[in-house]
């Protein structure tokens, strides 16, 4: 296997499927999982705990410059952008929100695409705005593998649909198919 990381973006309607993914991954999942999900900026606790409840792998909110490790899910912390540095580290930023979002899915995806090039798997799930579309395009442009949750299955279609308008993705998958794909890695 040739990949270095999986990055997942979503907002409204994505919580349930992210929970299912984390619940399906084996403890020995061979990649770091980067999660950039829209969240309330002033509510800093609770989210990582909620995701941890049913997850087989540890879910953490990284601190700045933490080294990324396989088999751990890294959730972008409230009110920070989560960048991926070339040295396989997280770099946080309190820069301006992008498309009203901080964390910005686009910025996490763009920086991860630059760090991992064709060794990245990018997944966009259900969501209520177009954040993430440009980021997933960047993953595709850099040769990474791109997946989008089937808009017909997504609770909120806007985010997956904006991806499909902007770029050609490798797979438009149901939640079950996304999970099966990840389990084959």
């Amino acid at each position: 296997m040739n990949y270095k990381a999986v990055i997942i973006g979503g907002s409204a309607g994505s919580f349930q499927i992210v929970t299912r993914i984390l619940n399906s991954l084996p403890k020995t999942f061979p990649l770091p999982v980067l999660l950039c999900l829209h969240r309330l900026k002033h509510v800093r606790s609770g989210f990582v705990e909620a995701l941890s409840l049913k997850s087989n792998i540890p879910v953490v909110e990284p601190c700045d410059k933490d080294q990324l490790k396989s088999g751990i899910a890294y959730l972008a912390p409230a009110n920070y952008h989560m960048f991926i540095e070339l040295a396989n580290r997280v770099a946080l930023s309190a820069d301006e929100p992008v498309n009203h979002s901080r964390p910005s899915i686009d910025l996490s995806f763009i920086t991860a695409a630059n760090a991992y090039r064709d060794k990245l798997i990018g997944i966009i799930l259900s969501g209520a705005n177009r954040d993430g579309a440009f980021g997933l395009k960047k993953v595709a442009d850099n040769g990474g593998v791109t997946l989008v949750q089937d808009p017909n299955e997504s609770e909120v279609k806007t985010m997956p649909e904006s991806v499909l308008k902007l770029t050609k993705v490798d797979y438009v998958y149901s939640a079950d198919q996304i999970i099966r794909f990840l389990l084959k890695l």
Binding site: D64, K65, A91, L92, A94
Partner: protein, 276 residues
């Protein structure tokens, strides 16, 4: 927005070092790249080359460049619970003796959000005239900007919400004036602030400081420079002085497994200087 490659960024760092004797290699690469792209877009440039040209042909642009490349604070009273902790747990511990020669240092001021928040905080506790605030900026443009009180409309709403969560004793609207076109902060809040111009090595840091408020600044430095800055902070803090960083920042242990600080309130990232 145009995207820069690593080679472009290294070239810009080299140019800034050679022509302006300013070392940007201490910055975290990804956020520096993002800021450079922002500066290029903001000045209607279209490439790394056009940025070099502007820097070389217009020497005055350099201070604007630094002002624009540094990340401004995007909201006042960020993390209201930290400010509440300061009011309820930190300030009550300060007695009159401790308040003699009480220096506070903000080592990275770009747009003034944190500085004005601190001034409001102190004013409401009747401490503003009893302490000395030092504010470091990397460019006189930043200092001019902060002193002008310019306050972008788009930043007001979130700051107002934060101030309410902090439960300040006044109304947030009393700290700025607005007309149709502008909002201007109450600049009397910062009339006694001493501004310092410096670079990322902080050679002009004030000494014997009792409180350093440096939230979400270390994140913009690379790990080596973070360690260096942490040492500088330690050197310039008074005995058992307080050091506050951002919620998701950390102070790493040095190679001997030692830390220079001990936690005071880990939930709010408040530390105290350790004697080592």
């Amino acid at each position: 927005m145009i995207e820069l490659g690593i080679v472009d960024i290294r070239e810009i760092i080299r140019l800034l070092q050679n022509n302006f004797n300013y070392d940007f290699s201490s910055l975290a690469l990804t956020s520096f790249k993002y800021r450079l792209e922002h500066v290029i877009a903001k000045n209607n440039l279209n490439s790394a080359e056009s940025l070099y040209r502007k820097l070389i042909d217009q020497p005055d642009f350099f201070s604007t460049f630094i002002h624009q490349v540094c990340v401004p604070s995007t909201e006042m009273f960020r993390d209201p619970s930290l400010w509440r902790w300061m009011r309820e747990s930190y300030v009550p511990e300060l007695d009159d003796k401790q308040l003699i020669n009480f220096k506070i240092w903000l080592p990275y001021c770009v747009s003034g959000g944190e500085l004005y928040s601190l001034a409001i905080f102190l004013k409401e506790l009747d401490l503003l005239d009893k302490v000395k605030i030092y504010a470091t900026s990397f460019s006189h443009k930043s200092i001019d900007y902060i002193k002008s009180g310019h306050y972008p409309f788009k930043k007001i709403e979130i700051s107002q919400e934060n101030y309410k969560r902090y439960k300040g004793t006044d109304e947030f609207v009393n700290y700025y004036k607005e007309d149709k076109y502008n909002a201007i902060r109450d600049t009397s809040l910062i009339k006694n602030v001493e501004f310092i111009t410096d670079d990322f090595n902080f050679n002009n840091a004030p000494k014997n400081v009792k409180l350093i408020l440096m939230r979400n600044v270390l994140i913009y430095f690379n790990p080596n420079h973070q360690d260096k800055v942490t040492k500088i902070i330690h050197e310039n803090l008074s005995a058992s002085g307080t050091f506050i960083i951002g919620l998701k920042e950390q102070i790493r242990t040095n190679t001997n497994g030692q830390t220079l600080f001990e936690p005071v309130n880990i939930n709010e990232s408040v530390y105290k200087r350790k004697i080592v």
